[in-house]
């Protein structure tokens, strides 16, 4: 799985994003190896979420490029990126709260269930829909949610909603999944289970990049960690190296004192 280790599957070069006068991301570069679990950390306001939003196409970069499987994807639409295999999740329980669990995943199968307009109308899309439903159910089973398929999302406990968020993303059959704070607000038991899931997702051949505050989880889970501060790269390396880097320690302590700036969200 790590055969292509030489060439990064996802890479940013000199990425910059400004909001008016504020520079949220400043000449930031990183690269994610295929098959890795790659962490992106940094103190509050470091520009992590903005970076995610630029990579996933919500914002166009002000300068710099993003490469996905060697292709320059800077400024492309989120939906196009998803079709290419770059899919993200969202913080908290961003889901289709009004839908059932299964329907959430069915939306995730959007790309995999193509049919013509007319066949949708006439109902001749049934075979592709049945296939999509089967895949959706399989995805739910992967997360152990199959018994809850017909429940409305709003009935689900928080932890399950977080898993469902990943299920929706996974249903889109990504090559790279961007996870936005997957462990925030979870108790240690939930976090442990979630970490196991992330590893299983990676084992299915999906490269994972995640933004997270829970240091413990990041250090245990990630193969590589990129640390950013004030929008720029601070350190990149394996967890042991990052953990002991004085600049990282300084950044985190410093930010605890001057806890003013918010993430540009």
């Amino acid at each position: 799985m790590n055969a292509e280790g030489e060439r990064p599957i996802l890479e940013a070069r000199g990425l910059t994003r400004r909001f008016g006068g504020l520079v949220a991301v400043d000449n930031f570069s990183f690269s994610v190896r295929e098959g890795a679990i790659h962490g992106l950390i940094g103190p509050n306001g470091a520009g992590k979420t903005t970076t995610f939003n630029v990579i996933s196409g919500f914002y166009a970069p002000t300068a710099g490029q993003v490469f996905f499987r060697g292709l320059d994807i800077s400024g492309r639409k989120t939906s196009t990126l998803a079709a290419m295999g770059l899919v993200r999740t969202f913080q908290g329980s961003t889901l289709f709260q009004e839908f059932s669990v299964l329907d959430n995943v069915r939306v995730g199968r959007h790309l995999g269930a193509r049919a013509r307009f007319l066949s949708r109308l006439l109902g001749t899309d049934r075979s592709s829909e049945r296939e999509a439903d089967a895949k959706a159910l399989a995805t739910l089973a992967f997360f152990g949610l199959e018994d809850l398929a017909d429940e409305p999302v709003s009935n689900l406990p928080h932890g399950h909603q977080r898993m469902l968020g990943m299920a929706v993303a996974l249903a889109a059959e990504p090559r790279v999944m961007l996870l936005d704070e997957p462990f925030t607000g979870m108790n240690p038991e939930e976090t442990r289970r979630m970490m196991a899931l992330v590893r299983r997702i990676r084992d299915r051949g999906v490269t994972v990049m995640l933004v997270e505050h829970d240091m413990q989880a990041v250090m245990n889970l990630c193969d590589v960690i990129t640390v950013m501060n004030f929008g720029a790269l601070l350190v990149e390396g394996i967890p042991e190296v990052v953990r002991n880097d004085p600049a990282v320690i300084e950044a985190y302590l410093g930010s605890a004192a001057a806890n003013g700036v918010n993430d540009a969200a």
Binding site: F19, G20, T49, T50, N53, F58, Y59, A264, A265
Partner: protein
């Protein structure tokens, strides 16, 4: 008579009352998040205050204008309390409720004053010339009143605690409430000021237009165009857009014709929306 200067004077007058109306509309939208479709009818009610107090009951004009300002402000408070507060989480509901309120105000105006236009005799016929253009005291008064009122509002928003609260709510209601700003209190003030501005515009211009129960319709369309061009959340934008729109519309009316002016006005708005979907002075896109 100098055509160019006269047209500029005409445009300045139009800009001043349009700015009053548009700033009121923006204020209500900014704090309540509701599109007040009845805003034109608030203008109409202000005009009828002058029809009633000044033209029918012979009170002094200034008193009638002041009464129009306060009365329509109070109508705004009634709207806030009975419509917009219960519907705070339902902006579309607020819109529909304001449409219902508009129909009620229109019908009440017909009952009270007849379907015919109200008549307001001029309070002065004095006028003077600037660069060959004629400016009547009536129109000058509207311009001056608009400058004074908007200036006062600006000072109020800059200096007072309420002003900061209003701005905070307009920018981010949630953040404002976290900072301990009372949403209800702020909404009341915003609604009073927003409605009163529409009312005073109606009261000030009542002698210069023919107020009818249905005049609000003409007003609201123009007000929409202005706040869109200016950017919905921006009070300064509303003023600047009012000036811009008034000059474009007045000059096109004078040098081409009124129907073309309307098309140009709408096209201007659409063009602004296409180039800058949040208006010329609208809030920057936020994540």
């Amino acid at each position: 008579m100098d055509l160019l200067w006269q047209t500029a004077v005409n445009a300045t007058y139009a800009a001043s009352y349009m700015a009053l109306i548009a700033v009121g509309l923006v204020m209500i939208f900014g704090v309540m998040g509701v599109i007040n479709f009845a805003h034109g009818e608030l203008y109409m009610v202000g005009a009828y205050c002058v029809v009633f107090l000044y033209a029918q009951e012979n009170f002094p004009f200034l008193l009638a204008v002041a009464a129009g300002l306060i009365f329509v402000g109070l109508v705004g408070l009634v709207m806030e309390r009975t419509l917009f507060r219960p519907l705070r989480d339902n902006p579309l509901g607020g819109l529909i409720a304001s449409i219902g309120f508009l129909l009620i105000l229109q019908t009440l105006a017909v009952f009270g004053f007849g379907r015919r236009m109200g008549h307001v005799p001029p309070w002065t016929q004095g006028k003077f010339e600037v660069f060959g253009a004629i400016l009547t005291y009536q129109r000058l008064f509207v311009i001056a009143a608009a400058i004074v009122l908007l200036g006062a509002l600006w000072a109020f928003l800059k200096r007072s605690k309420f002003g900061r609260a209003l701005r905070a709510c307009a920018q981010d209601a949630e953040a404002a409430s976290l900072q301990g700003i009372s949403m209800n209190q702020t909404a009341r003030i915003a609604m009073f000021i927003g409605a009163a501005l529409a009312g005073v515009a109606g009261a000030l211009t009542a002698p210069l237009v023919s107020p009818t129960p249905y005049i609000g319709h003409s007003i609201i369309v123009t007000a929409f165009i202005i706040i869109i061009v200016g950017g919905v959340g921006s009070l300064e934008g509303a003023v600047i857009a009012a000036v811009l729109y008034a000059f474009v519309h007045t000059f096109v009316t004078t040098f081409f014709d009124g129907v073309v002016a309307n098309i140009v006005g709408l096209a201007l708005m659409l063009a602004v929306l296409v180039v800058r979907p949040t208006g010329l002075f609208g809030a920057k896109e936020r994540a």
